[in-house]
């Protein structure tokens, strides 16, 4: 299997799916030259009709993706940085997410939105936010947060084939992470969590860029005979509740690590589900390790202090296993 990094995995998935289905096309901000490299070279393969630089006007082109999907095509729409979704909230939340339901099932909305998110070193608040929480309470959307190249490729391909609006969140700090990625039709189903590491003493639910951090913490604690099970939900909608609850039933303890904010976030949602449906499994309180409730700051030490890190994950695990 070839070693690919995150960006190469995205590029491969896009090329394969556009090759497979002539109704797919790519639109978004600078997708021809590609700021991050994910869409680089696709113009040479697919031409200007199917690889389109949009004006920097998120409401306009996100809404156009909605219309193009309703009219029989399968747009892959890149919103460069996920915080820019705020400019297109109506089109994502009121239009893409609701039109199928409001039309009594007539509309299909096969759109894949791609956006870079997360703290990536001095990009400051308006380019570093983890915004998937803002979409968690919007029925009609699917939310995908891959943690590595192999899942990235498989989840993105599934997203493109899905008949619903799917937002694929790509962490900007994972770009150079490399791993073996299966070639050909490597599909990872939406709604299926992955146990990234088996363990007995505590379940560590880690989302997106928290997964590599979680693995390091698990490695370190293994030397002290603290056995950490690392579970990556991979998609937040649909969420693999069964896998999370089964793991907690096994370990009786849970820590949830997410780069999003504490209030109203993905970690809060998962914690509530565990408390609601898995209370009897628990031997210790549910712990959330998230970013602080501040806009992500610019200066490196402040940025580091704001986001969830390995030390905080480790401390949370020591706390719950000590009880």
């Amino acid at each position: 299997m070839p070693q690919l990094n995150f960006i190469q995995a995205i590029n491969t998935a896009l090329a394969e799916e556009m090759e497979r289905d002539p109704l797919t096309f790519l639109m978004g901000e600078d997708v021809i030259l590609s700021a991050f490299g994910a869409t680089k070279g696709l113009i040479d393969k697919f031409g200007p009709k199917r690889v389109r630089n949009t004006p920097i006007s998120e409401a306009g082109f996100v809404g156009a993706a909605v219309g193009a999907a309703m009219a029989g095509t399968r747009p892959i729409c890149e919103v460069e940085f996920a915080s820019f979704f705020y400019c297109a909230f109506d089109q994502v939340c009121n239009q893409a997410a609701k039109l199928r339901y409001m039309s009594g099932g007539q509309a299909t909305m096969p759109i894949t939105f791609r956006a870079v998110f997360g703290a990536m070193g001095g990009a400051a608040a308006q380019h570093s936010e983890t915004v998937y929480a803002q979409f968690l309470s919007v029925p009609g959307l699917k939310l995908v947060v891959p943690s590595g190249p192999s899942d990235m490729k498989g989840l993105l391909k599934s997203a493109i084939r899905d008949n619903n609006p799917v937002i694929v969140f790509e962490h900007g700090g994972l770009g150079r992470l490399k791993e073996e990625v299966p070639g050909g039709d490597h599909l990872v189903p939406l709604g299926k969590a992955a146990i990234k590491r088996e363990g007995k003493n505590v379940t560590l639910v880690a989302i997106g860029a928290m997964v590599p951090k979680a693995m390091k913490v698990a490695d370190k604690l293994a030397k002290e005979n603290i056995s950490v099970e690392v579970l990556d939900p991979r998609t937040l909608i649909p969420l693999d509740e069964d896998a999370i609850l089964a793991s907690v039933e096994k370990t009786n303890r849970v820590v949830i690590a997410d780069e999003g904010h504490l209030r109203g976030g993905a970690a809060a949602d998962i914690a509530a589900i565990v408390a609601d449906k898995g209370f009897d499994f628990l031997d210790a309180p549910v712990r959330r390790v998230t970013s602080l409730d501040v806009p992500i700051p610019f200066s490196p030490p402040l940025e580091k202090a704001a986001i969830a890190d390995e030390a905080r994950i480790e401390a949370a695990i020591r706390d719950v296993v000590g009880r």
Partner: protein, 325 residues
């Protein structure tokens, strides 16, 4: 103008359907028989009928919260529309959309839309789909003067212009955004001039003259099908009723316009104008026009009966259709 007798009869039938349907919907709303907000377009029938007469079935439209007229003009069935407005499972959206959100994919109706300006980028995208799939279908986007101040208006015109998309932007300028007179919130007198900013044609059209609307739309359709890009049409018209049915109960009478202004516009009724034109030119006899009214009344009575007799949705359906398989 090249227009057949058959087309003229259809145009009048469309305007009558809109007028009678919406008058009835208004009455039913006042009587409390239908839930939710109802926005009617009585007085604005010519823009819906004139634009859609220039489209074919495979062409698409996007509409607004004041959308019954556009849907009827594009071929929407009165019975299924009425059932939807009643919240019945036989409605176009199985009772989940209601007055503001009716969709009929088979007729190219991509949806009425509860968000002002929400349909404009969707129309641009629908035009983009035609380009991607290599078809010459056009999309008409209906919106109001209020929507022309939304960012989506400007973004959509720019996008459609730069990609030469087959889209016709149809502004129905009825002079008010909700209860606010346009002149107090809009920097220009004519919305059509905004087309200049995007390098596309913009035309001011008498929105109460259905034949003028048809003529300008036909030209815009030809341009769009030929790959020459979008056109902005501004149909100047007026709504006889309030923004929302029942508004006088909370705003009072004459809260933002005078009765005499409304009465003056009623004299410009697009249906009467068309009837006069038929009489003057001898194209259609009065008897034929009267027959259309009678037919429409029958059709409407059947639609109401259908809606009343239809079942409400079963509560088990509440979670259906959130996601596509």
């Amino acid at each position: 103008m090249d227009i057949s007798r058959e087309e003229l009869l259809d145009i009048y039938h469309t305007m009558q359907k809109i007028r009678l349907f919406e008058s009835k919907v208004r009455d039913l709303a006042v009587a409390g028989e239908i839930p939710g907000f109802v926005h009617v377009s009585i007085g604005e029938e010519a823009s819906a009928a004139g634009v859609c007469a220039a489209l074919r079935q495979t062409d698409r439209i996007t509409s607004t919260h004041r959308g019954h007229g556009h849907l009827i003009a594009k071929g929407g069935r009165l019975d299924r529309m009425m059932a939807e407005i009643f919240g019945k499972r036989t409605g176009y959206c199985k009772g989940k959309g209601g007055s503001m959100h009716i969709v009929d994919y088979s007729l190219g109706i991509l949806g009425a839309n509860g968000i002002v300006g929400g349909g404009l980028p969707i129309a641009a995208g629908s035009g983009l789909a035609a380009v991607i799939t290599g078809k010459d279908d056009v999309t008409a986007a209906f919106f109001g003067d209020g929507a022309s101040n939304e960012g989506t208006f400007h973004e959509s015109l720019n996008l459609a212009a730069v990609w030469k998309l087959p889209v016709i932007f149809v502004c129905e300028n009825n002079g008010f955004g909700e209860f606010t007179p346009m002149a107090t919130v809009t920097s220009v007198t004519d919305i059509a001039v905004r087309a200049q900013a995007y390098g596309i044609p913009g035309h001011i059209v008498d929105g109460n003259d259905v034949l003028e609307v048809f003529k300008y739309t036909s030209e815009a359709v030809a341009r769009a099908r030929a790959g020459e890009g979008p056109t902005l049409l501004e149909c100047k018209t007026y709504r006889w009723e309030g923004h929302v049915v029942g508004e006088a109960a909370f705003l009072g009478e004459e809260a933002y316009r005078t009765k005499s202004e409304v009465e003056a516009w009623k004299l410009k009724c697009p249906l009467i104008r068309f009837q006069k034109w038929c009489a003057e030119t001898g194209k259609i006899s009065t008897a034929e026009l009267q027959r259309i009214v009678a037919d429409t009344e029958k059709e409407l009575a059947d639609a109401i009966e259908f809606a009343r007799a239809s079942e409400l949705p079963d509560v088990s359906e509440v979670t259906d259709d959130v996601y596509a398989p």
